[in-house]
């Protein structure tokens, strides 16, 4: 207690220098928290968007379906087994048929994926209702990115070409019924969404689907033979990996920033030991052991960490709270990185995140404060009293 009291007095006694050191560390803390919060928010938002718009509560895949191998698509479809059909009929799942195809906007061929989905499906949160067939031209739903890349707009007509099961090519014109704005790039890029029944009819695959998306919160029944269930964790793993990779990058940034703060403490400690040799000698003469002196100086350094936490809480918490409410505008081009995020990222700060960063900072501050005190262990009290270094 005495050591702590003395340490506190010594730190506060240095006046503006103490607060400058604390300010530097607090900046590192706040920026680190903001940074990690941004990654967490991105992760959370992306996962939620991906689940709401693409993955649902998991998917049953036809056994030959491999989303990373378009060549499997010719055979990756099968009639819906009764168990899955029942889910679809109950409105707890949506069937999707995926075929490889191409379009010819402005006379240029583009490879695409033709995806059939029931326009009235309630499972995935994107405007499938816009492709309700009304007996006129085949309605197609495309994403904003694809529309921009292919030079298509609402009302445009485009020729679709696909391969039938026998191997023959077939083609039909479709009208762009709606251009959707979505944060999930994987339902947008090079994809044309059509009414499921129409696509089944066009491809001569009545009642068949490539995958079945389960509604969120629905307990998944066992996968029927020939189908594989992929849960949300499996479907989100690429996304998680991507976020993790970004998190590593940000951690390096955090380490660099924190190191600058620690350098300030290290420097202060080294200087303090040098300037306060006589005081060290006096403390020893008054009955302090070397261990107590080392503890005192270490505590002084660690107190900068505590001051930084207090200071950081004073200005950082309101700032972080505001940021979490207002969000952070996503820079142009981020949407093409493969992460489904909205126009703004809303950082997510958990108690664990804040506590973790605070604890790591306090630990690192203490260790950094301890390192220069090894000098004290070598310092002879008689030399210290005369203001000399041993």
């Amino acid at each position: 207690m005495l050591t702590l009291r003395l340490a506190l007095r010594n730190v506060l006694g240095t006046g503006i220098r103490a607060w400058l050191n604390a300010l530097i560390i607090s900046l590192a803390l706040v920026v680190a928290t903001w940074n990690q919060g941004l990654v967490s928010g991105m992760d959370e938002q992306a996962a939620q968007a991906a689940q709401a718009i693409e993955f649902g509560g998991g998917q049953y895949w036809q056994e030959k379906y491999d989303p990373f191998d378009p060549l499997t698509l010719d055979e990756a479809h099968a009639p819906l087994p009764p168990a899955l059909q029942a889910l679809v009929d109950d409105g707890r799942a949506a069937a999707v048929l995926v075929l490889q195809g191409s379009i010819y906007p402005r006379g240029r061929m583009r490879s695409i994926l033709l995806k059939g989905i029931d326009p009235g499906q309630p499972i995935l949160d994107f405007p499938t209702a816009k492709i309700t067939a009304d007996g006129g031209e085949l309605p197609a739903l495309i994403g904003g990115r694809f529309a921009k890349a292919a030079g298509l707009a609402r009302g445009d007509s485009v020729t679709l070409r696909w391969r039938e099961p026998g191997g023959a090519f077939n083609a039909q014109d479709a009208a762009v019924a709606h251009v959707m704005s979505t944060t999930v790039a994987s339902i947008d890029s090079n994809q044309v969404w059509l009414p499921l029944a129409k696509l089944q009819e066009m491809a001569r695959l009545p009642g068949e689907a490539t995958l079945v998306v389960l509604a969120r919160g629905t307990p998944p029944p066992p996968a029927p033979p020939g189908w594989t269930f992929r849960d949300a964790d499996y479907l989100l793993r690429d996304l998680r990996e991507l976020v993790k990779a970004k998190s590593y990058g940000r951690t390096i940034f955090l380490v660099i920033f924190l190191s600058l703060g620690m350098l300030a403490i290290f420097d202060t400690q080294v200087l303090a030991i040098f300037r306060r040799r006589r005081e060290i000698g006096t403390l020893v003469a008054l009955g302090f052991t070397r261990g107590q002196v080392i503890r005192l100086f270490t505590l002084e350094g660690a107190l900068y960490g505590f001051l930084a936490v207090i200071l950081g809480a004073l200005y950082g918490l309101p700032l972080l709270w505001l940021q979490a409410r207002a969000g952070f505008p996503v820079p142009t081009g981020t949407e093409d990185m493969g992460i489904s995020i909205g126009e703004r990222i809303y950082p997510a700060y958990s108690a664990g995140l804040i506590l973790g960063i605070v604890l790591v900072s306090l630990l690192v501050t203490t260790v950094v404060s301890l390192l220069p005190t090894r000098r004290i262990a070598r310092l002879k009290p008689t030399d210290a009293l005369r203001g000399r270094m041993s």
């Binding site: 005495l2 003395l6 007095r9 010594n10 006589r278 005081e279 006096t282 003469a285 002879k380 009293l385």
Partner: protein, 241 residues
């Protein structure tokens, strides 16, 4: 080995390495001091006065020989035991006062009692008594930077005597003070010695201090060159130092 004398040294030797050579600061010094003495080590710079004080104060260990202080063998003490002995039984007064700069006069004097874990009420009384003794009760809230040299040294004396140690070691206590303050300080110390029976051992070459001593040990080149009892100021009998 326990010893009834306050301090006893036998063939005390202290050698300091100085680059590739060695300097003998104390050369077979054998001395003893009784409780209640007001004694001083005098001699030119480099004669070994401070070294002797440091060893007796358990801040340093001898190269060879023995030093017994308050019944304890200095060379056999661990760091912790030495700190404990200094904390309980030895008071230090330095040439440069060595007050803790962030503490007030009151807190500086209180510091040794905090180390001794003295209860708060008793501590307050002891601190105020000590400040009263040195005539600085009214400066209790002042910080060292706000005190004059004389006042600082009086606070240092209060800090050294607040725990009522049997032994006070003073290394050139008047070197940074003017004549008036020096006499004031020395009178305070003399009063302490008489009224509280605190033993004083000085290291000094200041004639003003020497004038107050009742025993003068002269050190030259680390050896005892003289040891004489002197008449206390105002007393009759022996010659003044």
């Amino acid at each position: 080995m326990a010893d009834e004398k306050l301090i006893r040294t036998e063939n005390l030797v202290k050698i300091f390495p100085m680059g590739s050579s060695k300097v003998t600061a104390l050369n077979r010094v054998t001395l003893s001091f009784q409780a209640g003495e007001f004694a001083g080590l005098v001699g030119p710079s480099g004669s070994g006065k401070t070294t002797f004080l440091n060893i007796v104060g358990t801040l340093d260990a001898p190269s060879s020989g023995s030093a017994f202080v308050l019944g304890r063998t200095v060379e056999g003490l661990s760091h912790r035991e030495a700190a404990w002995l200094r904390n309980r039984s030895i008071g230090f007064i330095f040439q440069t006062f060595n007050l803790l700069p962030v503490y007030t006069a009151y807190e500086n004097v209180e510091f040794p009692l905090l180390l001794l874990k003295t209860p708060a009420a008793q501590r307050r009384k002891m601190v105020m008594d000590a400040l009263d003794w040195v005539g600085l009760a009214d400066r209790a809230r002042s910080r060292p930077a706000q005190l004059s040299g004389g006042e600082s040294q009086r606070v240092a004396i209060a800090r050294a005597m607040v725990k009522k140690p049997p032994l006070l070691l003073a290394d050139e206590p008047t070197a940074n003070l003017d004549a008036e303050n020096s006499h004031h300080i020395l009178q305070t110390m003399e009063k302490l010695n008489r009224q509280l029976a605190t033993s004083f051992l000085f290291a000094t070459h200041d004639e003003k201090v020497i004038g107050y001593l009742r025993r003068k040990i002269t050190l030259v080149d680390g050896r005892v060159a003289g040891d004489e009892n002197c008449r206390a100021r105002g007393a009759e009998g022996t010659e003044p130092c």
